[in-house]
Symmetry: C2
Subunit: 196 residues, 2 copies
Amino acid sequence: MLILHRLIKNLSKLPGIGQKSAARLAYFLLKADPIFVDALSKDIRELKQKIKNCNICGNYTETDHCLICSDPARNTKLICIVEEPKDIQVIESIHEYNGLYHVLMGAISPIDGIGPENLTISTLISRIDNNKIEEIIIATNPTIEGDTTSAYITNIVKQKSILITKLALGLPVGGDLEYTDKLTVAKAFKGRNRLS
Amino acid sequence: MLILHRLIKNLSKLPGIGQKSAARLAYFLLKADPIFVDALSKDIRELKQKIKNCNICGNYTETDHCLICSDPARNTKLICIVEEPKDIQVIESIHEYNGLYHVLMGAISPIDGIGPENLTISTLISRIDNNKIEEIIIATNPTIEGDTTSAYITNIVKQKSILITKLALGLPVGGDLEYTDKLTVAKAFKGRNRLS
């Protein structure tokens, strides 16, 4: 197969990229600045070699400890628990949280054969036991798997004298009540806040 | 800058890929099969080195002559004239045309300083003169630049005793051949009009 067709085929395997977008990207790369194209190729190749998981929290990092764990300005009494390393970027982007993270590396999912022992829950417990943690914020996805994982962790941690919180469920900002699913509306209703 | 952030930044420079899609792609690549990722990186790197323009028609090729020019089953009496190599794929995809191609490598655009001398029009004329061409089909984009180029070529070629046709204006005016749906391209191809 010609390299151009193979590249289009491979690009179309990427998430959100269809056949037409893949062709558009390939033709763009053919005409693009060679320095840019080489840099892109190199970064894609080296991505997996250079990036590993932080020894402490599991975040993506190029060194042993990630930028967040090695930042002395972070509040080390707080741990926000997420399923995947990429979830950290989402929470960092809101600029509301200054604590540490813990990446579970997934969520409990019996169907996929993922139990608590496949996640980094034991590491989380030792982090809580060995550091003066005051609060854990559970930020698993609002799915059956995420909720199961959240319940499991809560059950283990609740006898320790630390605060356990979980991200609020409710209407998405900028959303439309009419087009929000019933379950979300129900959760938003239950979690309604007093205004006066 | 971390390789992950640099990759996200570079991916977001690609056409149709925003900041969020770029992050999604980068995280996908981090978890993807290493063999796939290496192949993708290699193809991107080698794309420009391996792909050149066909000596005859200007189509993308890895050898001196492209697959179309070296295919004995093609009708060598027909030449379809396009602006860019990628336009050839669009016309090939409708499976209506069995002739040869000629890539102009652009269109006349005084604003961008592109005149007829910057295009492969002289090569086109020698191809017409030296081969028994019966028809040229002008498939430039339905834009001012494409129409100007079409008029220029018609003017030069009309004294020769060959048929000059142009894709029908079933194409959306101001659009781009690359992004036109196959059916419209097929209709336009079938309804091509005689210019002289």
